[in-house]
């Protein structure tokens, strides 16, 4: 085995351990113990959550098709627990990994610059990119509220487990509840505005020919997702959906 001479590896640098074990251990160590590995974990789980957000939106937009279609779709999901529960478990696991990796990286990043600049003028970055951790935390609390409201029926107005359409409409007719959803969706939109293309870059998808289009496409998709989700409370508030 070449390349492990003392000259190549300064003492005190924990590099030997990456080369010692079998593939599974090596992979887990790379993913959990290097910053780049943790970013890859965030990107993969982020991609799965992104696909869920797209699927969830397509189901939610059935509200514009009417009460029967929406309730039929909800009924269909509950009729198939063999698919529903594995999907829920995968999503919960992704949330857990995404949040733990984000927290670990955020703490490392914060400690990497102890004394800040007196004047610091960013050139390239966006507000969305600089608020990922705060937006992510806001989305977490919004998600808890959303589950309590429309999955468990603990908060908000009268809850009927067999009438999803009615639950949504009754909830959003309250401007305060609709407002919470609009703020939550805005946070989600900002999170995806940076996250959707950033995850592709982290997974190594980058070339000068595609980088501009990649960024634009991901940002447009993020805004469309935001508008799609926001359309539901807005439609109820304005009386388009009753």
């Amino acid at each position: 085995m070449c390349g492990n001479s003392p000259a190549a590896n300064p003492p005190g640098k924990p590099v030997e351990e990456f080369f010692a074990e079998d593939m599974a251990v090596r992979m887990i160590k790379t993913l959990t113990q290097t910053t780049v590995g943790q970013k890859v974990l965030m990107a993969v789980t982020g991609l799965i959550l992104f696909l869920f957000i797209l699927g969830h939106l397509s189901g939610n937009l059935l509200i514009f098709a009417g009460r029967e279609h929406m309730n039929e779709y909800a009924h269909f999901l509950h009729e198939h627990p063999k698919f529903l529960w594995p999907a829920r478990i995968v999503l919960l696991f992704c949330f857990f990994v995404h949040i733990v990796a984000a927290a670990r990286l955020w703490l490392k990043n914060r400690s990497a610059r102890e004394e800040g600049y007196t004047i610091y003028l960013p050139i390239e970055t966006t507000i969305a990119a600089r608020t990922m951790i705060y937006g992510g935390a806001a989305i977490f609390f919004f998600l808890l509220w959303h589950l309590l409201h429309l999955t468990f029926g603990v908060v908000g107005p009268r809850f009927d487990p067999n009438d999803v359409y009615g639950n949504v409409v009754r909830g959003f007719q309250n401007p305060a509840i609709a407002g919470i959803y609009l703020v939550g969706v805005a946070c989600l939109c900002a999170h995806l505005y940076h996250g959707a293309w950033s995850l592709l870059h982290t997974l190594g998808l980058s070339a000068p020919e595609i980088d501009c289009a990649k960024k634009k496409a991901a940002r447009i998709l993020a805004v469309l997702i935001g508008l799609g989700y926001a359309s539901i409370p807005l439609a109820v508030l304005t009386g388009v959906v009753r």
Binding site: G3, A8, T35, N109, Y117, T118, Y120, I123
Partner: protein, 250 residues
């Protein structure tokens, strides 16, 4: 032209720093930024004061020694330029400029505007060697390299290790530097035998030095005097993913 400078002064690593204001009345617009500081230091020396310490060497934009922030931008407002190649004509007469050293835990301030960047040297050291025969020069065409690949490797190799990427990154991450160093060898045939080991060792060394992680802000690319692309960061990520998925020991 008249220039007012607010300069970070710090006696030593341990000492607390502060800004001090200096006025220069007759700055020539053809001076480089460092020549303007030479004039300031001459004035300070004649007044019996301690001159401002700043790093510099070649003064032609290729050595990577100079670097600090001017009004919050690493290497100043001109794109793709080191401080030594930045001329005073790019500033307004009467401008007030704040000079601050690179700030990162891995870059402790040594004095005034000079920081210790040996963390970057240790990241390079961790990469180790490439397996080539030494002795007489090899036959020039023994390893054919496509033109595009050679150009891309050269784009990465243009990194002068000045540390502006770390300084400009909101996370004080050294990813662009490490990515450039990993990529210029990883693209060439001579760099293949140790390619998978190298990426892991250099990332481990980068993490151990206390740099932050990359969150794709793109600030590094925006201030890089050699305009190195974040495309190389994606390439570094690809190499690490590949090295983790390899079935054989690397």
């Amino acid at each position: 032209m008249r220039i007012r400078l607010k300069v970070w002064r710090q006696e030593s690593r341990e000492a607390a720093g502060r800004f001090e204001t200096y006025d220069l009345d007759s700055v020539n617009e053809h001076m480089s930024f460092l020549e303007m500081l030479d004039v300031l230091n001459e004035k300070l020396t004649l007044e019996g004061k301690e001159p401002v310490a700043f790093d510099h060497d070649c003064r032609e934009g290729i050595c990577g020694m100079c670097g600090f922030l001017i009004n919050g931008i690493a290497h100043g407002p001109e794109k793709g330029t080191t401080l030594c190649q930045l001329h005073m004509r790019h500033f307004q007469d009467g401008a007030e400029l704040t000079l601050e050293p690179w700030r990162a835990k891995a870059f402790p301030v040594i004095k005034d505007l000079i920081v210790d960047r040996s963390a970057l040297d240790r990241v390079i050291q961790a990469g180790g060697y490439i397996s080539v025969n030494t002795g007489s020069a090899p036959e020039a065409n023994i390893h054919p390299v496509p033109k595009d690949t050679a150009e891309k490797a050269m784009d990465a190799a243009a990194c002068i290790g000045c540390g502006a990427c770390v300084a400009a990154c909101p996370n004080a991450s050294a990813m662009l530097f490490t990515a450039a160093k990993v990529s210029h060898l990883g693209l060439m045939p001579q760099g293949q035998p140790e390619r998978m080991q190298r990426v892991k060792k250099m990332i481990a060394a980068m993490d151990a030095e206390g740099f932050g992680s990359c969150t794709n802000h793109g600030e590094c690319q925006a201030v890089c005097p050699k305009e190195i692309s974040t495309e190389f960061i994606a390439r570094l990520n690809r190499d690490l993913i590949r090295s983790a998925l390899l079935l054989t020991r690397v």
